[in-house]
């Protein structure tokens, strides 16, 4: 079989998600005149602000072979923290929200690693606790932003970009470099790619887990902080569906739930797809829940396609790798 050039071979995993993105974009452009050109980019950028940040954090826990279910609640906590500190200005407030995320995430990761506990189960507990924390901080009622002026910059738009989306894109770049080019990022990927093998090779898996969850909660806190300023208020019951959107974006973009595979590019593609989808549906006057329907359907289609692809690949591998049979021709 002719082998693709190395560079092309490395781009192959993105072919599927990228095709879906192009198909969706074409469909949107055809059906929704208001989203042609720059406006299309704008709805995508908007999706990066909130869903994108959360998605990239959750995606990193997925690549590590874990899952952080508490991101929605963490974003709510980030929001109320930012508003509480809002009088200090935009940047300190958002920083406070982000830091709250880092602290929470580090603690979660530490407990999950030390107690050797299933992260799915643990984060079900923490998602409830964090939601309660958000209520407690906000004293069970919405927190309005008094320092309105500080949020102005977040409402600005340059071409299709906003301040929030620029921050999100910067985070994507940082995390992308982290995962591909740093030792710690490689350890996170190794953790998901083969935990026993990684440990046998000497990888500090505990550290990798802590990092993954710290990143996930940091992103969620940051996202919540930014969003609360932009919305002008923070409600403790915010973002009940953020987890779904984040996980769906990651999965649709090509991150594998089993772990070890996927990059921030995958997440970006997924976020773009969902951004276009929800933007188009909103433009047609549909409710939020309809976009959920499309998201769910798309998720199923892609998961089924991925399963089919995996089965085909495994069958081919089984043929080719029959212990030493394929390596050399018979004399």
């Amino acid at each position: 079989m002719k082998r693709l050039t190395p560079k092309l071979g490395r781009l192959l995993p993105y072919a599927g998600p990228a095709t879906v993105l192009i198909a969706v974009w074409i469909a949107v452009v055809i059906s929704t005149p208001s989203l042609r050109g720059e406006s299309g980019g704008y709805v995508i950028a908007l999706n990066f602000e909130l869903v994108g940040l959360v998605a990239v954090g959750v995606a990193i826990t997925m690549v590590a072979g874990e899952l952080d279910l508490s991101v929605g609640s963490m974003a709510a906590v980030g929001g109320v923290v930012a508003i509480k500190v809002s009088n200090a200005g935009l940047v300190p407030a958002v920083l406070a929200a982000t830091l709250a995320g880092t602290l929470v995430g580090t603690l979660q990761g530490y407990l999950i690693a030390r107690l050797k506990i299933n992260s799915l189960v643990f984060t079900i507990g923490t998602l409830i606790v964090l939601r309660g924390v958000a209520y407690v901080i906000a004293r069970n009622e919405p927190l309005p932003l008094s320092n309105f002026g500080a949020a102005d910059i977040l409402l600005q738009r340059w071409w299709f970009l906003t301040a929030g989306s620029i921050v999100a894109l910067a985070v994507f770049v940082v995390l992308g470099v982290f995962m591909s080019s740093t030792r710690f990022g490689r350890e996170v990927r190794a953790l998901g790619g083969g935990r026993t093998e990684a440990e046998a090779a000497g990888v500090r898996t505990d550290r990798a887990i802590v990092l993954a969850f710290a990143i996930s909660a940091t992103c969620a806190g940051l996202a919540g902080g930014l969003a609360s300023f932009k919305d002008g208020s923070a409600v403790p019951w915010a973002y009940p569906d953020l987890l779904l959107s984040g996980v769906a974006a990651a999965l649709i973009g090509g991150i594998a739930l089993a772990g070890g595979r996927g990059t921030v590019w995958n997440v970006a593609i997924g976020v773009a797809i969902l951004g276009l989808l929800s933007g188009a549906l909103t433009a047609h006057g549909a409710q939020d829940s309809l976009s959920q329907l499309f998201t769910g359907a798309l998720l199923l289609i892609i998961a089924t396609a991925e399963l089919g692809g995996r089965r085909l690949r495994a069958r081919r591998l089984m043929r080719d790798r029959s212990f030493g049979l394929a390596a050399e021709p018979d004399a």
Partner: protein
């Protein structure tokens, strides 16, 4: 506080790299290591031989830091070290190349080469990693591979060499090879053996755990034999031959294990017609008579296991067909296969043989539960009766039926995994490696019981890499080598030498 061990005497030329004295490890009632002494010189290849359960793998686990010994001292280059956990073992310079590849398939070759290296830089671009990798791949002859390719895309043999390259890069002092050639072709085996000798030449101390005597005589300097948790003093390879090694390993006669046999007759119960699946280079056909035990003898990768799995219905994409008692045998899925009367035991009972956490009785009844139920309702009484009957006939302690199955010894676990099929009244039993991890006593009990069942009409096909056992136990033996059935004869027409030659290097095969 342990007493300081006495300073070891070093051989004039090769300094002692590793010295273990008085290592002991107990698992419950089982003394896995019993005051074991082990030494290794720098620059030598020490072969580590031993039967199942002799303590080899425990010793390796102690060395690699996976297991903490109860007692004993370890010195590396004269200094006392504590090798637990794995981080300390690695810091002491111990590296292991296992049979199961410990590369991460979803990561690139270059990334795998630096996996776990705590001394590596914090920030390295993928391009830089790939450039560095080429230098590391050269000693193992893989410099032609693109280091940015994922490990899952290269062959098993190549990924094993990548592992060796990683070990070389880590500048280990002690390298343990644990059955490294099991899945490799001849050419790759030659490469690996050359690498092993190269490592020794560079001053590493190499421990080579294997069951292949040919390799031992080819590359080892000395041999340490383990038996029943104890170690014998190391012997130079020049002072050994095959017969002496066997005597040291077993310490007993072999023939007493296998009961006598009866002659066979009757119409074939199983007819296999041109069966082929991934792992077999050409189709396989054979027949099985009632009460016959057919042994498929071959090493890993020979295809013997594949035949069994294909017949059991656990392999997708099977071509060819089979009939059981005159009716077509379904080859897709275990459910249909079980109902047709086919029992199957894989070679890894922990992974897919029994249900850890459930009681022994529940394990025994799993395949035939609907048979003791009425309208979906399980009759506890009938289940208990049938389970007791099975336990009785296999000599499993009936008082342990309520205990979780993982608390049973390996031998009893194997009895459970085999015995559960009795309740389904099977026509044939397909078994892989029937006595792996089973102590000698249980082995004899299992063999005896299976022979009894065959006298009552059960037919068995077993796949095993243990040529001695196959020869002693089976009526008919077929040898496999690299995906082909090379020969099939009745047991009285085989000698062990001929068998071994057929599974290792058949007449007419390419060298």
């Amino acid at each position: 506080m342990p007493v300081e061990p006495p300073t070891p005497k070093a051989d004039g030329q090769h300094p002692l790299r590793l010295q273990m004295s008085g290592m002991s490890k107990r698992y419950g009632a089982v003394q896995a290591l019993d005051a074991v002494d082990f030494e290794l010189r720098a620059g030598e290849v020490m072969a580590l031989l031993g039967e199942n359960g002799a303590g080899k793998s425990t010793l390796v686990k102690v060395l690699t830091g996976l297991v903490d010994a109860d007692d004993g001292h370890v010195r590396v280059d004269g200094e006392v070290v504590h090798l637990f956990p794995t981080s300390r073992s690695q810091a002491a310079g111990v590296a292991a190349v296992q049979q199961e590849i410990s590369c991460i398939p979803s990561m690139s070759i270059a990334e795998n080469l630096v996996l776990g290296d705590q001394a590596a830089g914090a920030f390295t671009s993928p391009r830089r990693l790939a450039a560095d990798a080429r230098a590391l791949l050269e000693p193992v002859g893989l410099q032609h591979l693109d280091p940015r390719r994922l490990v899952e895309e290269i062959s098993v043999a190549e990924s094993q060499l990548v592992e060796i390259a990683r070990v070389l890069a880590r500048k280990a002092k002690i390298v343990i090879f644990d059955e490294p050639t099991a899945a490799l072709s001849d050419a790759d085996i030659t490469r690996v053996l050359a690498m092993v000798r190269e490592l020794a030449r560079r001053g590493c101390g190499v421990i080579y755990v294997t069951h292949r005597l040919r390799e031992v005589f080819e590359i080892a300097d000395r041999v340490t034999v383990m038996r029943n948790g104890s170690s014998l003093p190391p012997i130079a390879v020049e002072d050994l031959d095959v017969d002496r090694v066997i005597t040291l390993l077993l310490g007993r006669r072999l023939e007493s294990m296998f009961p006598s046999r009866e002659p066979l007759s009757g119409e074939p119960v199983l007819v296999v017609d041109r069966l082929q699946a991934a792992g077999l280079a050409e189709p396989v056909s054979f027949e099985l008579r009632p009460g016959e035990i057919l042994g498929l003898s071959g090493q890993i990768g020979s295809g013997a296991n594949v035949v069994l799995r294909a017949l059991a219905g656990t392999v997708p994409g099977v071509q060819g067909s089979a009939t059981l008692r005159g009716r077509p045998l379904p080859l897709r899925g275990r459910h249909a296969s079980t109902r047709a009367g086919v029992g199957y035991c894989s070679d890894d009972r922990k992974k897919d043989g029994f249900f850890a956490g459930r009681s022994t009785r529940e394990n025994l009844s799993a395949p035939w539960l609907s048979g003791v139920a009425r309208g979906g309702w399980v009759s506890r009484r009938r289940e208990r009766e049938r389970a007791n009957a099975i336990a009785g006939s296999f000599a499993i302690d009936q008082s342990r039926l309520r205990s979780p199955v993982q608390t049973l010894s390996g031998g009893n676990q194997q009895k459970v995994v085999l015995g559960k099929w009795l309740g389904t009244d099977p026509a044939i039993l397909l078994v892989e490696e029937p006595t792996r991890g089973v102590d000698v006593g249980a082995r004899a009990e299992i063999n005896h019981k299976l022979r009894e069942l065959c006298a009552e009409g059960l037919s068995i096909v077993l796949a095993s890499s243990d040529t001695n056992e196959v020869l002693g136990f089976c009526d008919t033996i077929a040898t496999f080598y690299r995906g082909r059935m090379t020969d099939v004869r009745s047991h009285e027409h085989w000698t062990e030498e001929e068998m071994v030659r057929e599974v290792m290097h058949p007449v007419g095969a390419p060298s």
